[in-house]
């Protein structure tokens, strides 16, 4: 019962944080931007979903859609501010990193200003029902979270694998110079990428708000978890992010079972540092230095 609860919790969190990590990973490897405004996009889309549930309808799909849409808009905003003006200037990576941090500072403070410090909560978008599975009670939001996040991430990955835009994004991930030679516009593709990854953040925000509240600074912890997973899996690798999400989720479950909740972050970082010391570019880290040159 206890173990089952912890494991199921860990799986749910791993799914959500994995979604965030994959978003971060795709952003980094395709447009070369470390999007530390991800926490802001996360919080923003939470508020978008909240507004939709307050003023439009509390229908789960609408709320989810509103969150994803706001996230996509937030991603495009970050792209317009931090990617478009400086992407062909010298020192882009550092400046992009700092720019996204600045956006994060401005954005979260603006959210605080607009919505006040009080946390909001979203309606239960998956309804109220339970499933007993071999002694483990799985609530509706857990199943809903896992299924939705896996489905959406799989859909995004499939889309990237099969469609033309996906081909463009993947081509840009591998060789931006050659991509422009075959007629792929870096700026336009950048907007696509940031919209998609922003949408993923929005999805994660709505899903996580089934467990936690929405607050202006609520995006920070999920972002840091997402960043840790992306780091651990290797920036730019979707497979690595999935594996890392599972490993870290397992670690979280085991630590809180064996040592206690307050040691989760410590063991997690020790684990990440050990993994990074062994493989400096994460589990499935890109061993080539394509992006560095």
């Amino acid at each position: 019962m206890d173990i089952g609860f912890i494991v199921s919790n860990a799986v749910v969190l791993a799914c959500i944080y994995g979604t965030l990590a994959i978003g971060l990973s795709i952003t980094w490897s395709s447009v070369g931007l470390i999007n530390l405004a991800y926490g802001f996009i996360f919080a923003l889309s939470g508020y978008g979903a909240w507004l939709a549930s307050q003023y439009v309808t509390a229908n789960g799909i609408v709320v989810l859609g509103a969150g994803v849409l706001t996230g996509a808009l937030g991603g495009m905003l970050v792209c317009a501010l931090a990617f478009i003006p400086i992407h062909d200037k010298p020192n882009f990576t550092v400046r992009g990193l700092i720019a996204t941090l600045a956006i994060s500072l401005v954005g979260t403070q603006a959210l605080l200003w607009f919505f006040g410090p009080r946390a909001k909560n979203l309606p239960e978008i998956f309804g109220f029902w339970k499933v007993h599975l071999g002694g483990i009670i799985l609530t509706s939001d857990k199943i809903g979270n896992v299924v939705t996040s896996i489905a959406v991430v799989t859909a995004v990955l499939l889309w990237m694998r099969s469609s033309r835009r996906g081909l463009e994004i993947r081509a840009m991930m591998m060789n931006p110079h050659a991509a422009s030679i075959v007629g792929i516009g870096v700026r336009k593709t950048g907007f696509y990428v940031m919209a998609i990854t922003g949408g993923l953040a929005g999805l994660a925000a709505v899903l996580l708000s089934q467990t936690y509240y929405i607050s202006p600074f609520g995006g920070l912890t999920p972002m840091i978890k997402g960043v840790s997973i992306a780091l651990c899996g290797g920036l730019g690798s979707v497979r690595g992010a999935v594996i890392a999400a599972i490993v870290l989720g397992l670690n979280e479950a085991l630590t809180s079972r064996l040592l206690g909740g307050q040691y989760v972050l410590i063991t997690q970082f020790v684990l990440i540092i050990v993994i990074l010391l062994i493989r400096p570019r994460g589990i499935a880290g890109m061993l080539d230095r394509a992006r560095e040159a």
Partner: protein
């Protein structure tokens, strides 16, 4: 000499009789930072023409191609591609407008292997088909490429990163040929390849039916182009020097 020549009216830039001008370059200067690589260059390429561009290393062949695609550090001058002005005076943002130029009907096959090492050969060829029409016809077009480069059929599903140099070059050229382009710029197709493979790659390029489009091949090895192209232009120190139809062999015409 050229200061004097410049004062007399410039030679008329006109396409070959009965042909359409695919590319008209007028007064193009381009370079990187403080370095000026191309000096006031005029060039016209008419449809259905295969043009050889020969010259030593560092005399601006690749830069000319990059300038047409908007990839140089800075450039100035007029470039008409199918009658549409694609050259712009700019001093930064190399590659920012390249995709729009490419969509006007340019296929640049760059020097070396600018490939996406993780994509398979098939996806690679797909990525070359950027116009909606080419994307719709990509199956047929791929068949055409496979007919030109038979070795690629077996490698369809292999990631390009695993191919040998010659195969990569085939993929790179194939990607260029997938496009719905009216101007093919081929930069040093035989560079770094074994002579035999280089020859076969060049033969494959020659077997492409140009119809209304045109092809410019930059090459250091004049002997390889001998008798295969319609016209050969020499390039020296960022200027075009001398011209000969390929049948005559290459010789510099002394001006003045």
């Amino acid at each position: 000499m050229s200061a004097i020549v410049a004062l007399s009216p410039p030679p008329a830039l006109a396409p070959a009789p009965g042909k359409r001008a695919v590319l008209t370059v007028k007064g193009l200067s381009a370079g990187y930072g403080p370095m000026r690589v191309i000096h006031d260059l005029d060039l016209i390429v008419s449809s259905g023409e295969r043009l050889g561009l020969v010259g030593l290393n560092g005399h601006g062949k690749s830069t000319l191609f990059y300038a047409i695609a908007g990839l140089t550090g800075w450039q100035r001058g007029s470039i008409l591609l199918n009658g549409v002005e694609v050259g712009r005076t700019r001093s930064q943002g190399p590659g920012r407008y390249t995709h729009t130029v490419v969509r006007q009907g340019l296929a640049l096959i760059p020097q070396g292997d600018e490939i996406f090492h993780g994509l398979t050969v098939e996806e690679h060829l797909d990525s070359g088909a950027f116009t909606p029409r080419a994307w719709k016809e990509r199956k047929a077009r791929k068949e055409r490429i496979y007919a030109i480069f038979p070795p690629l059929v077996k490698l369809m599903k292999t990631p390009v990163g695993r191919l040998s140099g010659g195969e990569r070059r085939m993929v790179s050229i194939g990607r260029g040929l997938m496009a719905d382009a009216s101007l093919f710029l081929v930069d040093e197709p035989t560079l770094g390849l074994a002579p035999k493979i280089g020859k076969s790659v060049l033969d494959a390029l020659m077997s492409v039916e140009l119809e209304d489009s045109a092809m410019v091949i930059a090459e250091q090895n004049v002997a390889l182009l001998e008798g295969r192209v319609d016209r050969v232009i020499g390039m020296h120190a960022g200027k075009l020097k001398g011209e000969a139809s390929a049948a005559l062999g290459f010789q510099t015409r002394r001006e003045l």
